[in-house]
């Protein structure tokens, strides 16, 4: 259990916490979308740091240095997938925010009936 050796993990988790904070305590729809995005980014960072091997290079053989250690490819593939999923959710959330703005003329959660709860 160490914070210093695991600094990259700790930093990505901090990013997740920041995103959660924004999502829970901000009252503007766009800021809430930014919060969701931050959580996503934090988790993507966490996934990518999982695959790092000390001194490793990218797992691509084209013109790779001979005999070098390569980092793990699976977390990179997972991150790629989750980035695209994050893009899709963000696009949909923003579309609904635009629609709500069109209906109410505001993005403030406290002025929108259903979202108060």
């Amino acid at each position: 259990m160490t914070f210093v050796g695991n600094l990259p993990f700790v930093v990505s988790m901090l990013l997740v916490c920041l995103g959660l904070y924004v999502l829970l305590f901000k009252r503007n729809l766009i800021k809430m979308v930014i919060g969701v995005s931050l959580v996503e980014t934090g988790i993507n960072l966490f996934l990518v740091t999982l695959g790092y091997r000390a001194g490793g290079v990218a797992p691509i053989y084209t013109y790779a240095p001979v005999g070098a250690t390569q980092v793990l490819p699976t977390p990179q593939a997972l991150t790629l997938t989750s980035i695209v999923i994050g893009l899709a959710t963000t696009a949909l959330l923003l579309s609904f925010a635009i629609l709500i703005y069109r209906h109410y003329g505001t993005l403030d959660v406290t002025e929108i009936k259903e979202l108060k709860g």
Binding site: V16, L23, L29, M32, V36, V39, E40, I43, F46, L47, L50, T74, P75, L78, T81, S82, I85, A88, T89, L92, L93, F96, A97, L99, I100, H103, Y104, I112, K113, E114, L115, G117
Partner: protein, 516 residues
Amino acid sequence: MNALATHVPILVIATPLLGAFAAPLIAKLGRTTRVAFSGLIAGLTACFAGLLAATLYSAGGQPIVYVLGGRVPLPSGLAVPVRIMLEVDGLSVFMALIAALVGALAVLYSVSYWKERSGGALYDSLLFLLIAGVFGLVLTGDMFNFFVFLEITSIAACGLIGFRAWRKRSSEAAFKVMALYTLAGLLVLLAVGLLYGQYGGLNMAFLAANLSGSMLDRIALALLLAGLAMKAGAVPMHMWAPEAYGEAPAPVAMVLVANSQAGLYALFRILFTLYGVALSVTAIGWILIVMAVLTILVGVTMALVQSDIKRLIAFGAVSQIGYMLLAVGVGFAVLATRPAFGLAAIQGGIFHMINDVACIGLLFLAAGAMVRAAGTRNLNAMGGLAHDLKGLTVLFAVGAFALAGVPPFNGFASKLIIYESTFRLSPVLAIVAVLGSIILLAVFLRAFQAAFLGPRTVGEAGRVPWTMTLSMAVLASIVIGFGLFPGFFIDKLVAPAANALWNGQAAYIGAVLGGG
């Protein structure tokens, strides 16, 4: 035929995907072609799901493993599965049958329900995506792949919830549901990352064989529990459910019930198969039981005060999630000692899944027809529908009585098992469960009286088209059939599913890793 049986697990998922991708292109050929294509895809999917069930049951319930892109689960000399796999056991097949039933009926119902509306092709596409996502959730044997399907269902569901873009509440509900679903998905993803970081694998069977019960495993379990309970709509993460069910078009609300159950399925799969007795089962079981009791109570009390027919049914749906969670929580709490009533509780919970989807689905579909006929969702403004809509009256009554657990309908059959088995663990639980049913009966009697009795308010204009009646009739026949012959269906369908949870862990792992 043999080759078809080999590939049927992937065909179940790929067929609705094909339907979703092709629907907007096919729709350019005209409405008749579009409807025929949707029917073809829905029928084909249901056939494949039936074939999958037949294959599994004829093989004696041994889990089927389908490796995507390879011939064998394990490359020679390796202890880790490297490819994504679908793993189908009794419980998966049971859930797949529910999804197939609900999907086919939703498509059938939508033919007339969505006739007068814009965006029919996009609606079809999203509906097929939702169905494909539910199939993927229940059939996959890979943790990350599970997350991907979770997101497919979330996005398709929210697209459908916000589909009536002219309604203010639809877009609000869609935003709220989307944010919470995304959060749930991200919690699951974080847990998957934690598990991968420790064991270097993503396959469920591989993880189940290697879990050591360390601190990180418990944190991952807490994240999975929170995320999946949120997806299933259990209290205290239920706040999205009434909005979602209430604002989604009626057939979509029915598919969303199956979607919530898929979240519940994943919860059970992770608890029983992935973690199993490596945990302190009693503590986790009681956490589930407390959540379940809260879900039942909150669901029924909130249903009491609703005047919007769809939200009323929505809270009823929330309370039913509580019954399933209660039964399976009781089963999990006693997993270490394995008394007979534990298995009975799990059987009751799983049997209640298909009963719930049938009667809640029937109620949602009936509510769709009622709102269409009366032009309002407010129960106080509705009235006298029984004068002109006799068939609908009977169908709604069947669904309402079944949901409240009145004999001889199917809700009674499964709730009786739940009462009996939970009583053995603690009489208080059974009392809460009975109390919930009684309040629910009161709720639906009031709704029935408000909507159907009283002076005539609608004329012949509100007639229900035949495809809508047919899909409701199918559900009603299931409600009555399962209520009259519960023993037969428990024996054929529920027992393999319950056994897969109760003592299927070794078989599930052995099917991938060999040995057993």
